[in-house]
Each structure stands twice: as C-alpha cells, then as structure tokens.
C-alpha cells in the first residue's frame, strides 16, 4: 500500500540536532527529521520518545533549545504557531484545537477571523466546499453545524480542512487514528493519500505499526529524545525492525508473562459491576474480577471505559447498575466512599486528576492516606513501614521525596500515583491508561508491579487503548464499545486484529448486523458474524429468525469449535453449505474483507437441511458487496 508514484526528491523541511528540555526532563536530545514533498512520513517511537515534542517544535507550539531547522531551503525560525501556519506548517492534533461552539465553516476559517477587513461568508462557503470536495467529503459535513456536535472523525476532517484553508503544505498528524474506527481510519488514509498526491508533505505520528505500513512511504524512528533511524523507506523494513529501533531491545521481555498461569476459576470474585449506566458515555457495562486477576478493559478512546471507572469510583453520577465488592453491594457517591470500600483509581490524566503540584512527592504519596485518616493530625507514622517498603520495591528516589513531583519523569510520577493507592492496601485497583506518557523502561517496571500486586491477591482492572499492552498484561479482556460491554474473553484467544474488530464503534458494525438481519429475513435460519481460529470461534454478532436452529454461538463470547452446534462447517470453511453430522442443519461460511483487503471475520448462515438452500454464489456476492464501497 506504499507510494503509487515515486517520491520527489525536493526536501521540504530538514531538522537537525533539535533539543528541548522541560525542567529536568530532556524531551529531545538530538532529533532529526527530513521531509520531502509528496510523501507520508511516519514518525515513530514508544510513549515518551519525543515524537509529539518534535512535532510541536516544528509547528512552533514549543520553542526549541537548540538545533537547526530549514524549511523550503531557508532557515526556519518562526516565533509562534501563527507564523508557522502562515509559512504553511499545520498540526492536526489528537485533541483538536477547534472552537466547539462555532460552526464548521467558522472553524475552518478561524485563522482568517483575525485578519483585518470584511469577511464574505459567501466566498468562504464556496472555498470550504471546494476544500472538502478535494478531500472527497463535499457533502459529508454540514458547514453550519456546531463543532461540538461532530464525531471525533468529523472533527479531524475539520482540522484538516482548516489546515488546507491556509494552504498548508506540511501537515503533521499526531496520532490521528487513536479514536477512529477501522472504516474511519481507511477514510482518513484515503484523504492522506490525496494530500500526498497533491505534492504536500505529511507526517504521520503513530505507534500502531500496521497503520504505519499501510500509509507511510518513509519512517523516522525516535527513542528517548533521539532520532535512531532517519528517513528509512518503509518498504525496506519489517515490523520487528521497527520495534527493535523503537525499544532498543526485543519487546517480548517487556510483558514477561512466561511463567504466568491464569487465575484459577475458583478464586473468589472480588469485584463485580453489573449493568452500570452513567449516561451519556456509559450505557450498559458489566464485568467481574477475581482475586489476583488482571482484567483488561479494552476499546477505543471515547468508548466509555474511563467514564465507567469514574462512575464506579464516585466521580460521576450513576443512573443504574450495581457494584459489589466481596459480594457486598456498595454505592459510592464520592471517591472517599469508594476508597473506604477498598477501591483505588489511578486516573487517566495524571496532571489533572492525580498530581497535586504544590505538595511534595512525599505528600503526594500520602494523599490518599490523608483522605482516609480519621485523626486530626497527619498520622504519617502509621504508614512508615509500608511506605519504606513501597519506596524500595517501586524504586522511588528516597532522597528526593521533598522535591516537586512535576520535576520527575512521567514514569516516576505514575509510580508515585500508583504507590499512593498501594499504600492503602486496596482490594481493587483500577488503572486508566497506566503507561500513558511513560518511558519504555518504566513501563516494564509498572507491568511488573501490577503483576506482583495481582499475585498478592489484589483484583486489578487495567484500561488501555494500547491493545498490545492490554494483551500482554491482562488475563481476561472485556471489550467496551459505545458504552456497552460487548465481549468478555480470555486474553489468550485474542490478538490485536481481533481486538480492533471487537472494539469498533457499533455504528460501523451496525452494517454487518443489519446484513445478518437481512439474510435471516430473506432466507430464515440463523446468521452469525464471527472470527475463526484454529479450533476456536469468537462470535461478534448473531441474529436468528423465528424458530431457527441453534448455532451455539453467543455474541461477545469465545467457544471451542467442538462445543458449538455447527462444528463441521466451522472446521471446513468451504464455499458451499456444509451439513452437520446429525444431518439436520447446513451452514454456509464466507470470509468478509474490507476494500483494502483487511480481514473482517466470517459471515455464516445456518439453515435447516429441509429448507431450500439458496445458491452460495448469490450470498457470496452480497457479502462481497457489503464493504466494496468503503
């Protein structure tokens, strides 16, 4: 899927030796980047490698401490983002910089609102539809709609249009796919390809390798603030090459789950959440965690996982649902109630939700203790022993406990926040994106800590959008999509691809479910949409006509093929109806692919053998047509 046309050799931007220090953190040490016109350039690296910092230096959101940047052959030293924009450099940020209460049109031309003179809305409107037309989305976006009503993907489109309104010829996409569904990602790549073919230079910041291979022409890889591989053609690399550059070692060791045997099924259920709803983000989420188990809550950003955690923890009002700790129902109205019940929450946004900047590291560590302490004084002494132990086992800097927490690296900050809860010896620890902004070395030690506390009998819930992390860390994964928990599967039956499919927003899977409904409406019987493994099947959706025969498949559940009612068909996967041994039912299984050839699972139709079996080719054509237009 790499370039269909040769990359030109015009260098648009060249950065050399860029350095940037924040307080004591050296975000960039020696960063390099070379961009050519008409390419999509992948900027890769683990969390904290400096990708975003480098992007922001180029777009002048951040001033560099050192280093040379040449842009279109001249030294580039713009003072502000406005200057950078005027020069044609734009950032399409993860968290968009749009004004939510203004219309799409006003947002696209926001930079022009600051210009002197009169604005003609008529001509702006024409230019906007012209730009959206060039992106292939002329009618997809009502220009008068307020931006806050848009989906994440639509907002991104507005951001891109805004950049094009300024005629940007260098666009930096900072993790643009983080909150997009698979079909939205494909649409975005389509737009990116158009921009590339226009001769613009695009930077694609990501850590999702499959996407890097799908869209980029060349890649630059960063590690710990340095460029470790500069402008290599993507086609010359393999996934493991990239990982080696990103990590500096083989990643296999990071999760170190070798000697890990799952939690026994008779371990007591410590924590049980059923039918939790906290509108609008959380609609119906259920899960349970056994003692010593690590449960992953997977899904896309915005699926409602963080909101569910906050609702459980009393940070957000709940509409419905029960929460049980050790079988006893609790109803926390504020975090203090949840903490008293033995729950700890390491929230997603460390800076906003966890760190108290004017208190020392020590006091930050003891903050949750202060909340639970009954006396009038501080009562720190009672926690001394445990604190010493934690400082040692988490490798916290015992000699810098009186410093300001913000001067520490993201990883160290996160360890302090985790230690804050461990100090209280919770029964349940919920961690929301625990390794966000954490360097790779500290990530491994955070994983080790979570393992250890789970082994010590704590029920651990990890929320993560990083599927690799989720798979590496969890015993079991509950997938959340659009505020619903839609699958509860052992991590061992899943991989990143399956998680991606499971986590897709319901709006993008609705088409498949509707298709199953049509099939069963037209032919009767039972329709399933499933992922097939060697001897396992994961059901993504199931629809049954009246009186249809059982397939033995339930949505969101994995089953052994032998345990279903259609084992022969599931094994053979033949392009025709396969009759089961009992002779009563026949099943047609057809693979489903996206236009780009991605595996979307299998569509199955089970009919009684007594019925008139429709021609398989007809159904195959309908399955093929389903995603042809994406």
């Amino acid at each position: 899927m790499t370039s269909e046309q040769p990359i030109s050799t015009d260098i648009v931007l060249e950065a050399r030796g860029v350095a940037k220090t924040f307080g004591k953190t050296r975000a960039l040490v020696d960063a390099q980047l070379e961009l050519r016109a008409g390419e999509v350039h992948g900027l890769l690296g683990a969390n904290g490698a400096g990708k975003s910092t480098l992007s922001r230096v180029i777009t002048c959101h951040i001033r560099r401490d050192a280093g040379e940047i040449t842009y279109r052959g001249a030294s580039f030293d713009a003072g502000s983002t406005r200057d950078a924009l005027r020069a044609g450099i734009a950032l399409v940020a993860q968290e968009t910089s749009l004004a939510p209460d203004m219309s799409v049109l006003e947002n696209i031309f926001l930079p022009e609102l600051g210009r002197a003179g009169r604005l003609s809305y008529g001509s702006l409107r024409r230019r906007a539809s012209d730009i959206l037309g060039r992106l292939g989305h002329e009618h997809a976006l009502p220009l008068d709609l307020e931006v806050r009503r848009l989906s994440a993907a639509q907002r991104q489109l507005v951001e891109i249009a805004k950049a094009l309104a300024l005629d940007a010829n260098l666009l930096i996409f900072d993790e643009p796919t983080a909150s997009l569904s698979p079909s939205e990602v494909e649409r975005l790549f389509d737009i990116m390809a158009r921009l590339r073919n226009d001769g613009r230079a695009l930077v694609f910041v990501s850590h999702r390798l499959e996407e890097v291979f799908a869209i980029t022409d060349r890649v630059t890889i960063m590690r710990e603030g340095r460029t470790v591989a500069s402008a290599l053609p993507t086609s010359s690399l393999t996934q493991s090459d990239i990982i080696r550059h990103m990590v500096g070692q083989d990643i296999g060791s990071v999760y170190a789950r070798a000697d890990r045997q799952g939690v026994s099924s008779d371990a007591p259920v410590v924590f049980e959440v059923s039918h939790l709803s906290a509108p609008p983000a959380v609609r119906d989420i259920s899960f349970s965690v056994r003692q010593g188990e690590i449960l992953g809550l997977g899904g896309l950003v915005g699926a409602g996982r963080s909101e569910a955690a906050e609702a459980i923890f009393g940070l957000r009002p709940r509409a419905k649902g029960t929460i049980k700790v050790d079988g006893r129902e609790i109803s926390p109205q504020k975090p203090a109630d949840a903490v008293r019940a033995g729950i700890g929450l390491v929230a997603e946004d460390r800076r906003v939700q966890s760190i108290v900047p004017d208190l020392t590291v020590r006091e930050n560590l003891l903050l949750a203790h202060i909340g639970q302490h009954k006396g009038f004084g501080l009562g720190y002494a009672a926690r001394n022993a445990r604190m010493k132990h934690l400082i040692q086992s988490l490798d916290l800097p015992a000699d810098r406990l009186d410093a300001n927490l913000l001067t520490f690296s993201g990883g160290m900050q996160q360890k302090v926040v985790i230690a804050r809860w461990l100090l209280l010896e919770p029964k349940i620890l919920i961690l929301d994106e625990p390794t966000k902004g954490v360097d790779i070395g500290t990530r491994a030690s955070i994983y080790a800590i979570l393992r250890e506390i789970a082994a010590g009998g704590v029920a651990v819930v990890v929320i993560s959008s990083d599927f690799e992390e989720l798979l590496g860390l969890s015993d079991r994964i509950v997938v959340v999509s659009d505020g619903l928990s839609i699958a509860d599967l052992p991590a061992s039956v899943l991989d990143e691809e399956k998680l991606t499919l499971l986590a897709a927003p319901r709006t993008s899977t609705a088409r498949n479910t509707d298709f199953l409904k049509q099939l069963t409406h037209d032919y009767g019987g039972a329709g399933v949409w499933a992922l097939l493994e060697q001897d396992e099947v994961i059901c993504l959706g199931a629809v049954q006509a009246k009186d249809a025969l059982e397939t033995g498949l339930q949505p969101g559940k994995a089953s052994a093929i032998g345990a279903t009612r259609i084992p022969v068909a599931l094994q053979q996967r033949a392009p025709h109806f396969v009759t089961e041994e009992a002779g009563d039912r026949a099943t047609l299984l057809l693979p489903m692919r996206s236009r780009r050839g991605n595996d979307l699972g299998w569509i199955g139709l089970t009919l009684p053998t007594s019925a008139d079996l429709p021609p398989p080719e007809l159904i195959a054509a309908r399955v093929a047509a389903l995603h042809a237009a994406d």
Binding site: V339, S354, D358, L359, T360, R362, L378
Partner: protein, 322 residues
C-alpha cells in the same frame, strides 16, 4: 526523627527559601530605610504601635490566607466585621461580655458558612458570592445599628486590649498565638494539608478521597468568625461600634496575603508569609505617618509596593524557568 518533623522541615525549606525569606528581606529593607528616615521609627513605643496596629488586619488576614489557599477569595470580611461589630454592640446591651462576643463570632461564622456553601457546594464563583455577601452584610450593619454608632459599650471591654501579660499587650499576644496555631494547623494536620491540596489541584484532591467539600467551606467559616474577632478588638479599643467599621479591610487583608507570597490560584502560600505581609503593610503606613506624608499619598505608596513585590516575584520565577 518522625516523618512529621521531616516533612514539616521540608515544607519549610521548600517554601521559605523561595518566598518568605525574600519577603522578610523586603520587610527588613523597609524597616531599615524607615528607621534611617525617622528617628522615632525604631523606638520601643513605636514598635508596640506597629504591632498594635497589626492586630486587626492580622487576624482577618489569617482567615483570608485559608480561603485564598483553597483557591477562593473572601471580599466580605470588612463588611462582616462591620455587621458583627454591630451585633456585638447590641448584644453587649443584653448579656455579659463573653456571651456577647460569642454571639458576634457565631454570626460571623454563620455568614462564612453561607458563602462557603454557595461557593463550594453550588460552585458559584467566590468572587461574586462574597461580593454579594459584602453588600448584604454592610447594609445589615446599617439597619441593625439604626445608622448610628453604638457608643455605650461597657468599660470592661477595654480589658481585652489593655491587659498586659508578661509585659506584652494581650491583643498582640493573641495575634502571635493565633498565627502559631494557624501555622501548626496548616503544617501538621490533615485539615491543613487538605486545604493546600484543594487549592493546588481540587480534582486530584477529590479523586484521592479527601473531604473537599468540608475543607472548602471551613476556611470561609473561619474567615467570617475571625472578622468578628478582629472587630471585637477594634471595639474594645474604641468603646464604640460603628456600622462603617472594617470598611475596605478586605483589601488590606488580601494585600497582606499576596505580599506574603500566596498565589490567588490557591495551593501556594504560608501563614508566616502572611504575617510578614501584614507587618510590611502596617510598617509602611506607620512610617509614612511618622514622616508626615499626607494620608492621601499612602494608598499610592502601598499600592505601588504590592505591585512591585509581585512583579519582582514574577520576574524571579521567569528567570528560574517556571
């Protein structure tokens, strides 16, 4: 050595090095220049004068420090002082002195409770709430008093101020004691640290299970109560309760807290800093009086010093890259 002592020392280290030491330096510079300009400035008599003049604003500034540490502000303290002064004056006609004082203090606390709940529970802006309370309290002061000063205050009230303990006037002793208690509370207790945590990052404080509501309201209650205590000292000196008492006292208190290094965004500042701030304000006023500078110029002088102090602080912070 216990963790308490260690952390207390660390807090002292961390904060004093940056703020109070500098402000103490400023206070000394002002004191030395004034003593060079006026031979009377450094006399024992005048020093007691300065301390005596520090009592009323000093007491109010303690409450203001607590409120500002949570990230709030209390504009109503001056009016609450005026209103509770009238309450005290009226109560003194009916009941013994201690009960009358208690009445006034409870009234002040009650007004603070209302402001606190409106800001902390209902989430209204502290600035606006206390601005409203300021107007209401002042108007009630006029209504309760019938627009005139209450002058038949029992003579015994003056004992509150004019009793010396170990040769130190009781009101000065009270001020010192109040600052010691407030300092210990903010440094060594759960409540004190919670107040800092709320001002520094309310969301994190809540998520850590701290009792944010209670410790957000408490400073307003204390601020109201301390306004009543402050006006009690005024009345016992003047033996008269005027509805205009405490006029613009909130400005002096806020200025003292800010000169003392507290951040109006909350979370940063110390009680020692506030004390230094109070002394700086009072010294300037006292010194200008000694030098015979027109009272009309005093506002300009104090205003300039506040702004200069903050500007220097900001420049130093810029230098150190914050």
């Amino acid at each position: 050595m216990s963790t308490n002592a260690l952390s207390a020392r660390s807090i002292m280290n961390g904060l004093t090095r940056r703020l109070e030491i500098r402000m103490l330096g400023l206070a000394l510079v002002i004191a030395i220049s004034l003593s060079l300009l006026s031979p009377y400035f450094l006399t024992a008599n005048n020093i007691f004068n300065i301390l005596d003049q520090s009592v009323v604003v000093g007491i109010v500034a303690v409450g203001m420090t607590l409120v500002i540490l949570t990230g709030g502000i209390d504009l109503s303290v001056g009016s609450v002082a005026g209103m509770t002064g009238i309450v005290l004056g009226l109560a003194l006609q009916q009941m013994p002195i201690p009960l009358a004082i208690l009445c006034a203090v409870l009234t002040g606390a009650g007004v603070g409770l209302v402001s606190g709940i409106l800001t902390a529970y209902f989430g209204l802006a502290a600035f606006v709430v206390t601005l409203g309370v300021m107007a209401i309290a002042r108007s009630l002061a006029y209504i309760f008093s019938g627009q005139t000063a209450i002058s038949n205050i029992p003579e015994a009230m003056s004992n509150i101020v004019y009793t010396d303990v170990f040769g130190i006037p009781s009101n000065v002793l009270f001020l010192v004691g109040l600052y010691a208690v407030a300092w210990a509370y903010l440094t060594y207790t759960k409540g004190g640290r919670t107040i800092y945590a709320i001002g520094s990052n309310k969301e994190a404080a809540r998520a850590a299970g701290l009792n944010v509501l209670f410790y957000s309201v408490l400073p307003y209650i204390l601020s109201g109560a301390l306004a009543a205590v402050a006006v009690t000292f005024s009345i016992s000196q003047l033996l008269s309760a005027d509805p205009l008492m405490g006029n613009q006292m909130e400005l002096d208190a806020i200025a003292a807290v800010v000169i003392g290094g507290a951040s109006l965004f909350g979370g940063r500042g110390t009680i020692i800093g506030t004390l230094i701030g109070v002394l700086i304000m009072v010294m300037i006023r006292n010194g200008l009086n000694l030098l015979g500078v027109s009272p009309f110029w005093q506002g300009s002088a104090i205003g300039s010093i506040i702004i200069l102090a903050l500007l220097v602080e900001r420049l130093i912070n810029w230098r150190s890259g914050r």
